[in-house]
C-alpha cells in the first residue's frame, strides 16, 4: 500500500521512480542505437516498434511525463530515420508518421491510465471521507486489511493498531461475537445488523453493520454509528420503566405528554379510558376529550405546551373506548423527559363522585318535594281546627263557653300554633338545605332592631331584658333573617328558664375585629357541655335520648338560626353551665361576604 501511496505524491521522488527513470532512459537509448543499426544495415523488419517498450512503460507509470518520453523517442527516431533515408522523401514521411504514432499511442495510454486513476481516486476519497465506517477484512479469518478514518475514530484506534486485528474480536461480548459469526456464516451479504463493538478503551459502541463480499477473499463492511440513538433508546426505556414502577399502582390516571402526544400512560388511565397503553401512545390527549369540553381542555393544554406554569385543576369529560363519558379532574406538572420539557398529567376519576353528588342532589330535591307535600298535608287539616277555635274564642259567651272550657280551648290554640310553627320551620330548613335561599343585604342599625323584636314578641312581660348595644352599631346583612335569628335566641332564653328571668343582650367588637359579636345571655337551666353541638342540629339528628326531656321544645329554631348566620359567613356559638344559664353569641362579619 505504501508503494501505491507514493504514486499519488509525484513530487516525492522515491527509489522506485529513480529505478524506473533509469530503465526508461536505457531502453530509449538502446532502441535508438538498435534502430540506427538496423537502418545502417537496411534490416527493415525491426525499427520503430522497439520504441513502444519505453513509451508504454513510461506512459503507464507516469501518464504526463510519459508523453515527454514519447516526444523524445519520436525526435530520436526521426533524427536516425532522416539521417539514413535522406533524400528518400517517401521514407522520411513514413519515419515522421511513425514518430507521430509514438505520441498518439502515448496520449491514448496516458488518457486511459488517467481515467482509471481518477476513478480510483474518487473511490478512495469516498472511502476515506465517508460518514460510514468502512472496514475490509478477510473472508476466511476476518483479518482486517483496511479501515477508513471514520471506522478508526468510532473505535478510537489508529490505522496501524486496527489493521491485522480480527474483525470478530472487536465484538463487545462473547454473545455479540457469537451472533456476528452466526450471521456472517449464514449470509455473505447482510444489512442492518445491530451490534456493539469494543473501543480501544474497552467500552461498547453501538453500530449498525452491513457487509458485502467484494472478491473471493475480501468482505467490505460498513458501520453506521447508532450509539447516540441506542443510548437515548435505553435511557427512554429506563425512564419508561421508572415511570411504570412509580405509577403502576396509582389509583389515578397518569400520563406523560411530550410534543403534544402521549408518551406514557399508566394502567389506571387504561382502566379509566378503556384504551390500552399501545393504543394511547403517540395520540393526542384531546382526541379522547368529550367534544363539549374540548375548548376548555385546549385552553388548559395551551398553558403546558407553552411551558407556562399550570395551576389548579380542571374537570374534563372523556369519552371511553366503549363510548361512555367519564369525568376526570386534571392537574399538570412540568417535568423533563430525556432532557426536554414534558408534562406529567394526573387524572382523578371523579365520575363516581359526580354521580354520587348528582344522586345526593336528586335525593335532596326529592326530600324537599316530600317535605313540601307533607307540609301541605299537615297544614290543611289544621285550618278547620284553628278556624273553629278562633271562632269559639272570639265569642265565648255567645257559644255558651264557661271559663274552664275557654282555658282548655286556649291551650288547644297554643298547640295548633306550635304545630304551625314547626311546619314552617321545617320548610325553612329545607329551603336552607337546598341552598336556594338568597340573602337580601342591607345596612341597618342593630339597636332599634333588637328593641322592635323585644316589643313585638312581648319579651318584657316575660323577663327582665337589658340591652347594651351602642347606638352607632350598624349591621350589613339580611335584616329579616337576622330579626328571626335574634328572635329565636330570645325565645329560647325565655323558654328554658324559670322566673325571675333575666336576659342580657350585649354587643362587642374590638377595633380591627372583622366580626360583630352579639350575645344573648340568660339565667336558665343551662345546657350540658356534651350537648353544645347537638342543640344546633335539626331534630332528626339530635341525640333525642339526652335532649328530649330537657329541651323537648327546642324544635328547629336554633339550627335555622345557625344556618342563616353561616350563610352570612358567620357563626353562632354557645357557652353554658347547667342551672346557671347560657350565652349564645352571634359572630357576624362586618363586611358582606359571598354567601356560601
Amino acid at each position: 500500500m505504501t508503494d501505491k501511496g507514493n504514486r499519488f505524491l509525484p513530487h516525492i521522488i522515491s527509489r522506485t521512480d529513480i529505478v524506473r527513470f533509469c530503465v526508461i532512459t536505457s531502453l530509449a537509448v538502446c532502441c535508438t542505437l538498435i534502430t540506427a543499426l538496423s537502418y545502417s544495415r537496411s534490416i527493415d523488419f525491426i525499427n520503430y516498434q522497439l520504441f513502444f517498450i519505453p513509451i508504454i512503460y513510461a506512459a503507464f507509470f507516469y501518464p504526463k511525463r510519459g508523453l515527454l518520453v514519447a516526444f523524445a523517442c519520436g525526435i530520436a527516431y526521426q533524427a536516425v530515420g532522416y539521417y539514413y533515408r535522406y533524400p528518400d522523401y517517401t521514407a522520411m514521411v513514413t519515419v515522421t508518421s511513425e514518430a507521430i504514432l509514438f505520441v498518439i499511442i502515448a496520449c491514448m495510454i496516458s488518457y486511459f491510465i488517467e481515467k482509471i486513476r481518477q476513478g480510483e481516486t474518487r473511490y478512495r476519497s469516498v472511502f476515506e471521507h465517508s460518514q460510514l465506517g468502512i472496514a475490509l477484512f478477510n473472508r476466511a479469518d476476518f483479518t482486517i486489511r483496511q479501515t477508513n478514518t471514520r471506522f478508526q475514530d468510532m473505535l478510537d484506534y489508529t490505522t496501524e493498531e486496527i489493521t491485522g486485528k480480527q474483525f470478530s474480536s472487536l465484538c463487545l461480548t462473547p454473545r455479540d461475537k457469537e451472533r456476528f459469526l452466526e450471521r456472517i456464516a449464514k449470509s455473505e451479504a447482510s444489512e442492518n445488523f445491530e451490534t456493539r463493538l469494543t473501543t480501544k478503551s474497552g467500552s461498547g459502541y453501538w453500530v449498525n453493520l452491513s457487509w458485502n463480499t467484494i472478491d473471493e477473499t475480501t468482505i467490505s463492511c460498513t458501520a453506521v454509528n447508532i450509539n447516540g440513538r441506542k443510548i437515548a433508546e435505553k435511557l427512554n426505556n429506563d425512564n419508561m420503566m421508572k415511570y411504570s414502577q412509580l405509577t403502576e399502582n396509582s389509583p389515578n390516571g397518569i400520563l406523560l405528554i411530550q410534543h403534544e402526544t402521549i408518551r406514557f400512560s399508566n394502567p389506571a388511565f387504561s382502566v379509566f379510558s378503556g384504551y390500552g397503553k399501545n393504543e394511547l401512545a403517540g395520540k393526542h390527549l384531546a382526541d379522547f376529550v368529550d367534544a363539549q369540553d374540548r375548548d376548555e381542555f385546549m385552553e388548559f393544554a395551551r398553558h403546558w405546551s407553552e411551558n407556562k406554569p399550570v395551576h389548579g385543576e380542571i374537570e374534563i369529560r372523556f369519552v371511553t373506548k366503549t363510548g361512555d363519558t367519564r369525568l376526570g379532574s386534571l392537574t399538570a406538572n412540568s417535568i423533563l423527559h430525556l432532557e426536554k420539557p414534558a408534562t406529567m398529567i394526573n387524572i382523578v376519576d371523579i365520575s363516581e363522585k359526580q354521580r354520587l353528588s348528582d344522586k345526593i342532589h336528586e335525593d335532596n330535591e326529592r326530600r324537599r318535594g316530600i317535605i313540601i307535600t307533607v307540609a301541605h298535608e299537615l297544614r290543611t287539616p289544621l285550618q278547620p281546627i284553628l278556624g273553629y277555635l278562633n271562632l269559639l274564642l272570639s265569642d265565648p259567651d255567645g257559644f255558651g263557653i264557661v271559663e274552664d272550657t275557654k282555658k282548655i280551648l286556649e291551650r288547644c290554640l297554643v298547640s295548633v300554633d306550635r304545630e304551625r310553627q314547626i311546619i314552617n320551620q321545617m320548610l325553612d330548613l329545607s329551603v336552607l338545605d337546598s341552598g336556594k335561599l338568597k340573602l337580601s343585604y342591607s345596612t341597618f342599625p342593630l339597636e332599634p332592631l333588637v328593641r322592635s323584636i323585644i316589643d313585638t314578641s312581648g319579651y318584657l312581660s316575660k323577663a327582665e331584658v337589658t340591652v347594651d348595644i351602642p347606638e352607632s352599631v350598624t349591621l350589613t346583612a339580611d335584616k329579616d333573617r337576622i330579626y328571626s335569628v335574634i328572635d329565636s335566641l330570645l325565645s329560647n332564653a325565655v323558654s328554658y328558664s324559670k322566673p325571675p328571668r333575666r336576659i342580657n343582650i350585649t354587643y362587642h367588637s374590638e377595633p380591627g375585629d372583622a366580626n360583630h359579636h352579639i350575645s344573648v345571655q340568660d339565667n336558665g337551666i343551662g345546657i350540658e357541655q356534651n350537648a353544645f353541638s347537638s342543640i344546633f342540629e335539626p331534630f332528626q339528628l339530635a341525640d333525642s335520648a339526652k335532649l328530649s326531656r330537657r329541651y323537648d321544645r327546642i324544635g328547629l329554631s336554633l339550627s335555622i338560626a345557625k344556618k342563616v348566620v353561616q350563610m352570612h359567613s358567620g357563626d353562632i356559638s354557645v357557652k353554658s353551665a347547667v342551672n346557671t344559664g347560657s350565652t349564645f353569641t352571634i359572630d357576624l362579619p362586618r363586611e358582606m361576604k359571598n354567601a356560601s
Partner: protein
C-alpha cells in the same frame, strides 16, 4: 250590604268552617267547590274578593288565575291565594300582579281579617 267573598276550595271541612268564619267577620261568603263553576260565577256575578285554593282539579289555582285574568278579562277583583303549599311567594313575585296576595293555611281569624282588609279596607 256586606262584601261578597268567593271561596274556591274543594275541601269540604274547610269550606264549612270558612263559611262561619267569614260571616263572623262581616262578609258574605260564596262557596264554590267546583273550580270551573267558579270561573263562570266570577264572570256573571263578580265578588268583591276571591279566596283561592291552589291544589284542585281539573284545573289548579294557578290555571284558574291565568284564565280569570286572561281569558275572562277579570283583572280588578283581588285574589288571595288560600293555600297550605309553601314556596308560593316565589311564584307570585314573578307574576307581578298588584291585586294578588297570599293567606297561608292554617290562617287565624285575625290574619284572615287583615288579609281581606288589605284589599277591601276596613
Amino acid at each position: 250590604m256586606p262584601h261578597k267573598i268567593m271561596l274556591v276550595e274543594d275541601d269540604r271541612p274547610i269550606l264549612d268552617m270558612m263559611e262561619i268564619l267569614l260571616r263572623r267577620i262581616g262578609y258574605e261568603p260564596i262557596l264554590v267547590p267546583d273550580v270551573l263553576e267558579a270561573l263562570r260565577q266570577a264572570k256573571e256575578e263578580p265578588p268583591a274578593l276571591i279566596l283561592l285554593d291552589i291544589m284542585m282539579t281539573p284545573i289548579n289555582g294557578w290555571e284558574f288565575l291565568e284564565k280569570l285574568r286572561g281569558e275572562y278579562g277579570i283583572k280588578d277583583i283581588p285574589v288571595l291565594l288560600f293555600t297550605a303549599s309553601p314556596s308560593v311567594e316565589e311564584k307570585i313575585t314573578g307574576l307581578n300582579d298588584p291585586r294578588l296576595g297570599i293567606l297561608q293555611k292554617p290562617v287565624s281569624i285575625i290574619e284572615l281579617k287583615a288579609g281581606i282588609e288589605r284589599f277591601l279596607g276596613k
